[in-house]
Amino acid sequence: MKKIRIIVCAKQIPDPEAPLSDVSVDAENKEIVVDAPQVINPFDENALEAAIQLKEDTDAKITVLSMGKKVSDTVLRKTLAAGADELILLEDNAFEKLDSHSVACVLADAIRKIDKYDLVLTGRQAGDWDSGQVGLILGEMLSLPCISLARDIRIADGSVAVKKTHPEGYERVRARMPALVTVSNEVGELRYISRTRMLKMLRGAASISSWNSEDFDVACESLMKAEVVELLSPSDMGRDCRFIEGATADEQAEKLAAVFMELR
């Protein structure tokens, strides 16, 4: 059987699960300041996990694409440690703060250069701007069949079969490849990567290439930045918590039960 080529789009973002105290809003510069390390967008890790599972069943090559003004290969090398074969970083000053449509443009141009592929996977949404658009726009730009919110992905006989989230349960769908699938968290967390493996991958030689706008045919003049008119802090969500104490757990439970009865 022929080797399947899977492209996974992965975005590097400040840890979206950083504690609230490490996040602040710089209204002046319209920027969110996050005092936390950069990570791979969690849903993109789910997408990678789905790709690796496919690779376990079929002969597949996984290429990870990540785009930005500057992308850290130390963050993205985790994808190689997990089981991806190749990492392509799309880096250029022109790629800073683009709107979703323009991000998809750049990714589409890079994918056209890769040329031969069967499946493009993206996360359902990136946790920095929570836009949830790039995947489907990309699919449209590449004129691919688009499947969103996958919770299970299989391939057989040139088709991709997906269980996609549905308000009443799930829907079983199928499309000819090449196709685009956006991945939801139900496919499962990215597999555990041992420390030794991770360290080896951080130090060792790896298949990483870096493309700037001159390395592939990207229409930079048409790229647009997202225009933020205003950035505000959210309203305060804090409440005064009354801690229910007690000499024993039994006493605490009794007091808590009384709270429920009061609220009835």
């Binding site: 996040v23 996050v34 658009q133 989230t165 199928r174 968290n185 647009m224 757990a249 009794e254 808590l256």
Partner: protein, 334 residues
């Protein structure tokens, strides 16, 4: 071409509640623009729903009907909606940030070469009279999970946004002088690229209907933790109506529970009378889904966790100790 067009959704023959919310915000925007308010409905056999839509006072209701549009199929619906929007040519196009809107929005924006802002909580018009004023749609949206609120402005026609559910009040019925306009989409089987094989119905719960939600997270440790929570809901059911089980995303990721139970940004956003967070740390993406609850009770051995910051009552304790004891006490009291 100063019209505001909203995509209405029909559920079991009548308008979806969130469509009424769109009608409300759409009416405000249309009046700011001195333009009309239009509704487009897609499906098959829509007359009753179109009449219902008309009762909220829009100027026109476009009825896009075709036998192939009977159930939601993204390929058919997208093509039909694209054709309709090109014909109607509105200034603003709004959809719910629903299952349908999340899929059609980005794809349609791409096809129309315009820009979409998703999951907005407010929309307004930047006036077109003074300097720096351009009549564009200002799109207010929580970003970074809810750590900030951003107001975006984008070029492109139509101006497109999807609206978060339950933020705007539903429209009230109004004088209806409007008309129903029939539209026949040109579609056939050949445009389908994603074939729907089967919709597998699961026993999904309507979490937004719950009065009390007992939610479990990673802190439960395993699937069996939800059984302990189930025992508690059984007892609470004697004193409260509609007690349901919720969860954090991690519980879904681990396969302990199905996704319809998930509360939060990519789950359901709810505001029950009582929300009990058990073993949930309080990440922002979870908090946005439940901070509007009337009373919040948190159970977590980590007294420093975020959940306590938004809670009214807290118990710093292992859930396996406290929940069974609580269920027993409640049993005695009820």
């Amino acid at each position: 071409m100063n019209e505001v067009l909203i995509l209405g959704e029909v559920r079991a023959g009548s308008l979806d509640k969130h469509t009424l919310e769109l009608l409300n915000i759409g009416k405000n925007l249309a009046s700011d623009l001195d333009g009309g308010l239009f509704v487009v409905l897609i499906g098959d056999g829509l007359l009753a729903a179109a009449k219902e839509a008309l009762s909220y006072g829009p100027d026109k209701v476009f009825k896009v009907e075709h036998a192939l549009l009977n159930n939601f199929n993204a390929d058919f619906w997208l093509e039909s909606l694209e054709q309709a929007v090109k014909q109607i040519n509105p200034k603003i196009l709004l959809m719910s940030h629903s299952f349908i809107g999340m899929e059609l929005g980005p794809r349609l924006a791409c096809r129309l070469d315009t820009r979409l802002t998703t999951d907005c909580i407010d929309l307004s018009i930047n006036p077109a009279r003074g300097p720096g004023e351009d009549g564009l749609l200002l799109r207010t949206k929580p970003v970074s999970g809810g750590n900030a609120i951003s107001v975006f402005k984008c070029q492109g026609v139509p101006q497109m946004a999807t609206l978060r559910a339950n933020v705007y009040k539903p429209a009230k019925t109004a004088d209806s002088q409007g008309e129903i306009v029939d539209m026949a989409p040109e579609i056939d089987e050949s445009i389908v690229r994603v074939e729907s094989l089967e919709i597998v119905k699961e026993d999904v719960i309507a979490l937004d209907k719950a009065d009390v939600v007992i939610a479990g997270g990673a802190g439960l440790g395993d699937e069996d933790g939800f059984e302990i929570l189930e025992d508690l809901t059984r007892v609470l059911n004697k004193s409260f109506n509609n007690v349901m089980i919720g969860c954090s995303r991690v519980a879904v990721d681990k396969g302990w529970i199905s996704p319809d139970h998930q509360v939060g940004l990519t789950g359901t956003i709810i505001s029950p009378d009582i929300y009990v967070a058990v073993g949930i740390s309080g990440a922002i993406q979870h908090l946005v889904g439940m901070v509007q609850s009337k009373k919040i009770i948190a159970i977590n051995p980590d007294s420093g966790c975020n959940m306590f910051k938004v809670a009214d009552y807290g118990v710093v304790e292992d859930y396996e100790t406290i929940i069974p004891l609580l269920a027993k006490k409640l049993e005695e009291l009820s």
